[in-house]
């Protein structure tokens, strides 16, 4: 078969069609594209956070006669960070694809934005850990009637540099552990997609 013959076979293959009503029904459906699904998941995450944080903030503000209101303030601070996180992620998702752009530029855009998205995800997920450790250790120290005897709390038993060193070790180890766990997770979620997109792009750029 010669290529010109293939063209005529190809161009004659045009018999499929759907009725107008079927098309209109399809048009009203929601997209199942992964980016659309990521946006829906992010919105669900936001609603869950508002509900869960709202309840926790209100609870600690009034329970124990307001003795634990620091927890509420901490949660408010984390919620503010989360809203920034939501805004940034949503912005990246909106920028992630341009389906009416040229195929190559759309691939380039997806690779760049997905890499930024993954970095941000990793950074935000990891940054929360030292903050939470420091806050709750401090809270335990301040609120506990019997001051805990630990190297993490400066007392006569340990020199100040020992306490500082202990803090550095605890925060660093837990942050690194969470960082690598997060890294493994984002790699599992997006790693293959990024590799595939890069391969496609390399193929387009190759001579």
């Amino acid at each position: 078969m010669e290529l010109d013959q293939l063209k005529s076979i190809w161009q004659n293959d045009a018999a499929q069609s759907k009725e107008d009503a079927q098309l209109i029904s399809i048009m009203s459906r929601r997209s199942n594209n992964p980016i659309a699904r990521m946006k829906r998941n992010l919105l669900f995450e936001l609603k869950a956070i508002v509900l869960l944080y709202g309840f926790t903030i209100a609870y600690y503000a009034y329970a124990f006669e307001g003795e634990m209101s620091e927890v509420s303030w901490f949660m408010i601070a984390i919620a503010v960070c989360f809203f920034i996180y939501y805004y940034r992620k949503n912005k990246l998702l909106n920028k992630m694809e341009c389906l009416s752009c040229q195929v190559k530029s759309n691939l380039q855009r997806q690779v760049n934005t997905l890499e930024k998205y993954v970095k941000f995800y990793l950074l935000a997920g990891t940054a929360l850990v030292p903050l939470t450790i420091v806050f709750f250790t401090w809270l335990l120290y301040v609120k506990s009637p019997l001051k805990p005897k630990s190297i993490l709390y400066h007392s006569g038993a340990y020199a100040w540099w020992q306490t500082v060193l202990a803090w550095i070790v605890v925060v660093s180890v837990s942050t690194f552990l969470v960082y690598y766990a997060n890294k493994w997770y984002v790699q599992k979620l997006y790693g293959n997609n990024i590799t595939k997109l890069k391969q496609l792009l390399a193929e387009m750029n190759a001579d």
Binding site: L6, K7, D20, L99
Partner: protein, 169 residues
């Protein structure tokens, strides 16, 4: 929210170009349900993008971009499917068509051969078979014309060999 008038206009345009979308689906997906999913996704994306279509490029160029972008980089999860082309899986409309046995076989061989190419090569072959000029190919894919010519020569040769092996099989 798009108006009824806009909807009618879009459906009319879609009807004129439906075979193109089906061809993209046949090239990029093998199972009938995967093809149907891809068809629906392309239509949803076209409809979503339609209000922004300003007519700066031809409707078909715009449609090719959205269809190919959705098929190539949509990061969709494929369902498990059999690797060979199955004429039984063709939409009923095609089955109803009276094809000569030879034409049917040739079409079968053509699709089987093209599916062995990479995603990018499939897009190039499709545009070639649709008789698109290098200008239009560049406008759709974003690959410069020199690079396109080199790639096209290589792919044509590859396709010839694949078709030969399909015929031989």
């Amino acid at each position: 929210m798009q108006s009824n008038e806009q909807q009618q206009e879009f459906v009319q345009l879609l009807n004129q170009h439906q075979p193109l979308i089906h061809k993209v689906c046949n090239l990029y997906e093998q199972g009938p349900s995967d093809r149907e999913d891809l068809f629906q996704e392309i239509v949803v994306q076209l409809w979503k993008a339609y209000p922004k279509f300003r007519g700066e490029s031809k409707f078909s160029t715009w449609l090719y971009r959205i269809a190919l972008n959705t098929a190539i980089s949509g990061l969709r999860k494929r369902k498990n499917h059999i690797a060979s082309f199955e004429p039984d899986n063709l939409p009923t409309d095609i089955q109803d068509e009276i094809y000569s046995k030879e034409k049917e076989l040739q079409l079968d061989q053509l699709y089987s051969a093209i599916r062995q190419l990479s995603e990018i090569e499939r897009a190039l072959v499709m545009l070639y078979l649709e008789d698109k000029s290098y200008d239009e190919m560049e406008e759709i894919l974003g690959i410069n014309q020199n690079n396109l010519r080199v790639k096209m020569n290589r792919i044509k040769e590859k396709l010839r060999k694949l078709i030969k092996s399909e015929v031989w099989n």
